[in-house]
Amino acid sequence: MALNRKIAYIDLSSGKVETKPISMEMRKKYLGGRGLDAYLLYNNTKAGVDPLGPDNVCLVSAGILVGTLASATARTHIAGKSPLTGYFGSTNMGGFFAPEMRWAGFDHLVIRGKAEKPVYLWIHNGEIEIRDAKDIWGKGVRDTQSIIREEMGDREIKVMTIGIAGENLVRYANVMTEIKNSGGRTGMGALLGSKNLKAIAVRGTLDIKIEHPVEALEYNKQIISQITSAKVSQEQGRLGTLFIWGATNSQGLVRTRNFQLNQMEDSDGIEPETFEDSAFGMTGCFGCQVHCRAKYIIPDGDYKGTYDEGPEYTSIGAFAAEPGCTDLTTILTGNHLVNDYGMDTLEIGSMIAWAMELYEKGILTDKDTDGLDLSFGNEKAVIEMIHRIAHREGLGDILAEGPLRAAEKIGKDSIRYQVHVKGMSNLHSDERPTPALALGIATASRGSDHLRSRPAIDLYHLPEAVLRQIYSQPVAYEGPLTSDYTDYEGKSWQVFWQEMCYMAVDCLGICKYHTIFLGPNFPNFEEWSKLLYYNTGLELTPLEIWTIAERTNDLERMFNLREGLARSDDWLVDAYFDEPTKLGIPLIRDRVIDRDKFKQMIDEFYAFHGWDEQGKLKPETLKRLGLDKEPSHLL
């Protein structure tokens, strides 16, 4: 069956590799993927561990449904204590790595220690080998993959690797696979880099038995139809996540010029439809029919003629909206560079925009920038800063440290212009008019994060009846729900519900675009319950899956609490409360978050979780979820 995949414990210091099965008890409590990763991380680290030291562990995992006939089961999850925030670090990427890892016989890798010299892992049908990485150290993401494939003589090898940024311990370095599949947030690339682990190469030809193949095929077909017939999927399949730009910028929900404005009026040159001319087709992750990555060739500039994939919605934010650029080439080039260096697009965009505002305000001068003109809208400076940050040159060395450390180094008033939560930069969306989204980023377990609990469909102005259908399953909810996204009523439940939803989908290893994230008609708990049964034979009701999600979410919380997280960390920067929005449609103009109402939302959110006022788990919650004995010895 699909559940016979193993955990491998790899100690890079001693070179010892050990494999263990995953017991059914663990499966039923944590499923796999992010859920089991949370458990393994909590149990394999001690409080206060140095994120870049040998005692931190790096977890690589595939969800329980990865490689099976549930659509888009492509997600690889990577976890560890974050070098960026110092809290729970976790990132999730698509591509083909996770399924290949399962075909090679493994669900989870627990990597600890630090190799003496650069190494990479070679995993093939149950065997794990630690190999010398001298030929690939210092190489970009693409070259690394080609060299490994060439060396092994197999085109089908899938490689997860860090780029030059990861080697240089840029605190928001990515792990990457293929051209642009990125494990972006929380600096997992730096974690791998600190272990001298350049890459993990996998190739597997072992069967994953599908428990009920006929039913699984038919049901998958049904799910695919359900997803691809949705308008949002069709649009995504044409442009990728760029399509979100039209709606958000039209309303004024975009953070531009760091955090000074909330709409970009001179955006004709960077609109998705403009980009469409440079794209020549779409591609996607394993088993996915939405295909949300565009294939393009950079039309102009220094990198003219280079092939790359993307860009994402985030890329527009990072290389256009935030630094105030208006040229498509900058977005495409920037996207290409961060992909090859292996860096978080979102974080780097925010850092550069922040530096630009500091330059505008005179906090940074030409002396600090080595003569580089960091004015808003200077496209060349944006590209130059990407190079400098990846190589940690000059100002780049400071910006590579992430929001809080960089602000500390620059000093003066610089922290005032940072837009972050728990030391992680915010997405370039402006959450001041949307309290639900603001609550999501403020409370997300890995710092400011729009993918942990964002009720994105809140922006669709859906009728209350539709919202109720969605948000009262599988747990009954009778409180208020409202269509108006500027409202505070009932939003904390939506955030709570979405948090459970995304956690479950991460445990399963399915892509978020195949769940209620951008489309209200997409599969959720009920469908997953069937998918689990048909593919793996595991019988879990929707409510049981919900409970698993609650348990694992709380485990992440427990990790953060152990690292010293307090209620005050679940909060936004002052600008959200004090500086009203200046542009946009009437609904959005002149909006701020109301401090009192926001505090009340957080109280509600804690209450739904069963947490006390300080955000700590109540004893009865611990007991209910079976977490009272953690750290445990299920291992």
Binding site: E215, E218, Y219, Q226, A230, K231, Q234, E235, R238, L239, F243, G246, A247, N249, S250, Q251, E265, S267, D268, E271, P272, E273, Y460, H461, P463, V466, Q469, I470, Q473, S483, I516, P520, N521, F522, P523, N524, E526, E527, S529, K530, Y533, E539, T541, P542, G584, I585, P586, L587, R589, D590
Partner: protein
């Protein structure tokens, strides 16, 4: 939905609708929502821009497929002017 253990829930009569399927029934084609007033509006085929008949805000339109219009962006002048008017009016009333 009642989850039935181990039963094949594939043939039409034995299948029960899930939440997402129920939600999907409200799906529409050829229309988009005005981003100002959230009215569902139907632009003429292949229109490049369209003014919301309810609130007067005007949107540039793109067509992912022949039956799906989406908002590409605002017609800046129109919308800015309308917003300014509305905001001025609100201020006048409020203060």
């Amino acid at each position: 939905m009642v989850w039935r253990r181990g039963r094949l829930i594939l043939s039409e009569e034995s299948r029960q609708e899930t939440t997402s399927e129920r939600t999907a029934r409200g799906r529409t084609h050829g229309a988009f929502r005005c981003l100002n007033c959230f009215e569902r509006i139907v632009p003429p085929e292949k229109a490049e821009s369209y003014k919301c008949p309810k609130c007067g805000f005007e949107w540039r339109v793109s067509w992912p497929s022949p039956t799906i219009p989406r908002i590409r962006g605002p017609v800046w002048e129109t919308n800015r002017r309308l917003t300014d008017e509305i905001m001025a009016k609100e201020k006048g009333q409020g203060k």
